[in-house]
């Protein structure tokens, strides 16, 4: 039952074959069985999930009209507030904090009767590409437990690959949905910036952060996308326009006559051989499905990483200032005679991990008087250039494609002491965030040299998210025909797994 796709689960729920309580319990059992090894979850809300499931079953028995995913369980990245449920963002500084309010994404999930199983592990405040920066220990990649599941949303992606949940919510600031999807053989979508409300998403970098769906199939991602997206008056940067028809696009999967642009700069040197091979195969399959493959150039993408590592730290240095031990969260050093200032200093020393401190200091520097123009200001200009590159490319192609990541999952600890090497993981995903456009990663097979999953990235213009779903669905269908079964069916079994 837990190996089905979310839409298969939804039809079984709809036709009475299973109940949401049974389905939820099955996932809770799987979590109990495998999460000791995977560590995808930071908090499992057993009672809340079962109560929500029972309520959905009751509504269904009463003949109420329910949303397409009603009763299907989901794993929530621990960066989203959910009223009364611990929300840590993978940080010690928020240990024990229970928000008194729901994020808009959670409110939308509840409105759609999607059952929230619990909160998933992540790099602290979403800063990282491996989930090793969680203050609560790393998440392990279900394909190979010695490897990272990507980050920052490694917990959400791993929960899907370990069949602990059929759906998950991630957030993507520089690739935190797409890169974990790529290295775990799952599907992850970063919608157009402003497509999904950020209200209740604990901010890392406000102008880049975007929540989105994680799933095992393109259609499931689309269904979840529609459930959480839409205009929110609580988020001033939310787009006041209808949600693109992503479910229809995922169902049709039609790419006939579509122009697919291969970004010259996002391939080649530095990309693992197996990654390049899977990418080429996918292009052939898309061409066979009727798409026209063209090459596009985006010369300024090579500056994207540098600009990202100025903009995101700058914004985070300000966003994370509120964690000061005064109103919530950890408080350290509040002894007799201690000052508020020393308590802030000590709490932030103890409460933040190394990478978070590194980025706060870097951002403080980039914004400081005398350096603003050279760093933050210049990075903003690069942002303009990257957007211009995308605009030109989208004049030629309907969507753009690239490998999601240069490599497959690396070993836990392998890059822990080399921040720059770690940052390079996001080289292909970052430009999308800089321009605010949509991006998707879906599995394109495994690399022959290590047997680990490889991701294929599709990028679509602002509010044309439906296009990436069309292309994603077409490629997924072609690959399924080729393989005869979904990629995840080949994942090694975890001890204790059902």
């Amino acid at each position: 039952m837990i190996r089905n796709s979310a839409s298969e689960m939804a039809s079984k729920l709809a036709n009475g074959e299973i109940t949401s309580v049974a389905l939820t319990q099955a996932h809770l059992d799987q979590i109990s069985a495998v999460d000791k090894e995977v560590h995808a979850f930071l908090h499992v809300d057993t009672q809340g999930a079962l109560a929500q499931a029972a309520a959905v079953d009751a509504k269904r028995n009463n003949g109420e009209k329910l949303s397409p995913l009603a009763g299907v369980p989901l794993a929530l990245k621990d960066v989203m507030t959910q009223k009364g449920i611990p929300t840590t963002c993978g940080s010690k500084i928020l240990e024990g904090w229970r928000p008194p309010y729901d994020s808009t994404v959670v409110a939308n999930l509840k409105k759609n009767d999607i059952v929230i199983l619990g909160k998933t592990n992540m790099d602290e405040f979403a800063m990282g590409s491996s989930t090793e920066n969680s203050a609560y220990g790393p998440t392990h990649n279900p394909w190979d437990l010695t490897r990272i599941p990507g980050g920052s949303g490694g917990g959400s992606a791993a929960s899907l690959a370990a069949f602990e949940a059929p759906l998950a919510i991630g957030t993507d600031t520089g690739g935190s949905i797409r890169q974990p999807a790529a290295v775990t053989g799952t599907v992850g979508v970063k919608p157009t910036y402003g497509g999904v409300s950020r209200y209740g998403l604990v901010a890392f970098s406000s102008s880049l952060d975007q929540a989105g769906p994680c799933a095992r199939t393109v259609l499931d991602a689309a269904l979840l996308h529609e459930a959480i997206a839409g205009h929110d008056p609580k988020d001033s940067t939310s787009i006041n326009a209808p949600v693109p028809a992503v479910v229809a696009a995922a169902k049709s999967g039609n790419v006939k006559g579509m122009k697919i642009g291969v970004v010259k700069e996002l391939n080649g040197d530095g990309y693992q051989k197996g990654v390049r091979n899977r990418f080429e195969e996918s292009l052939e399959l898309l061409a066979a499905a009727g798409a026209e493959i063209v090459e596009v150039s985006a010369p300024n993408f090579e500056y994207a990483l540098a600009a990202y590592y100025l903009i995101a730290p700058s914004e985070c240095s300000s966003n994370l200032a509120r964690f000061d031990a005064m109103r919530y969260g950890l408080r350290v050093g509040d002894n007799d005679g201690a000052s508020a200032e020393s308590v802030m200093n000590l709490t932030r020393e103890v409460g933040f991990g190394r990478e978070v401190k590194r980025r706060i200091i870097l951002g403080t520097y980039a914004l400081s008087s005398g350096y603003y123009d050279a760093y933050y200001g210049s990075a903003q200009k690069v942002r303009t250039l990257i957007t211009q590159d995308f605009n030109k490319a989208f004049e030629i192609a309907d969507v753009l494609v690239s490998p999601t990541c240069p490599t497959t999952a690396f070993k836990i600890g392998e890059k822990a002491n080399d921040p720059l090497a770690m940052y390079l993981n996001d080289i292909a995903t970052i430009p999308v965030n800089m321009a605010g456009i949509g991006g998707m990663s879906l599995p394109s097979g495994v690399a022959e040299e290590d047997g680990l999953p490889v991701g294929f990235q599709i990028m679509s213009p602002v509010m044309k998210d439906d296009r990436m779903y069309s292309v994603g669905a077409a490629l997924e269908a072609a690959l399924l025909t080729k393989w005869g079964a979904p990629l995840l069916s080949t994942i090694p079994a975890l001890a204790g797994s059902k």
């Binding site: 240095s317 031990a325 919530y328 200032e341 020393s342 802030m344 932030r348 200009k381 957007t387």
Partner: protein, 98 residues
């Protein structure tokens, strides 16, 4: 090559309100030499004629009407407080200006 001395990092840590040990300051100062070289590449293309983009969407004038909506209950507002007294957040003595 840009670099940040231990003292530069200490000053930044002060602005960011993070206590740091000497080892941490030295380590960060070393890392920054490498990181700043990498990020300084933005200056290669950031010429004066390029406009700055602070936000990915060209939105303007997003306002809400001046309407009061219910606040949190004081219990909820103070639910995360490390210390409280008289329905207020209790914090250590504040140094500096009034």
């Amino acid at each position: 090559m840009t670099s940040l001395s231990r003292d530069d990092v200490a000053k930044l840590a002060g602005l960011a309100r993070i206590e740091m040990s000497d080892e941490e300051l030295v380590a960060l100062s070393n890392e920054f030499t490498v990181i700043l070289d990498a990020v300084a590449r933005v200056q290669e293309v950031a010429s004066a004629d390029v406009a700055a983009t602070s936000h990915p969407l060209p939105l303007r004038n997003v306002f809400r009407p001046d309407v009061v909506i219910p606040s949190l209950s004081p219990a909820d507002a103070l639910s995360g407080a490390p210390a409280q007294e008289e329905q207020r957040f209790r914090v250590p003595q504040i140094l500096g200006e009034e």
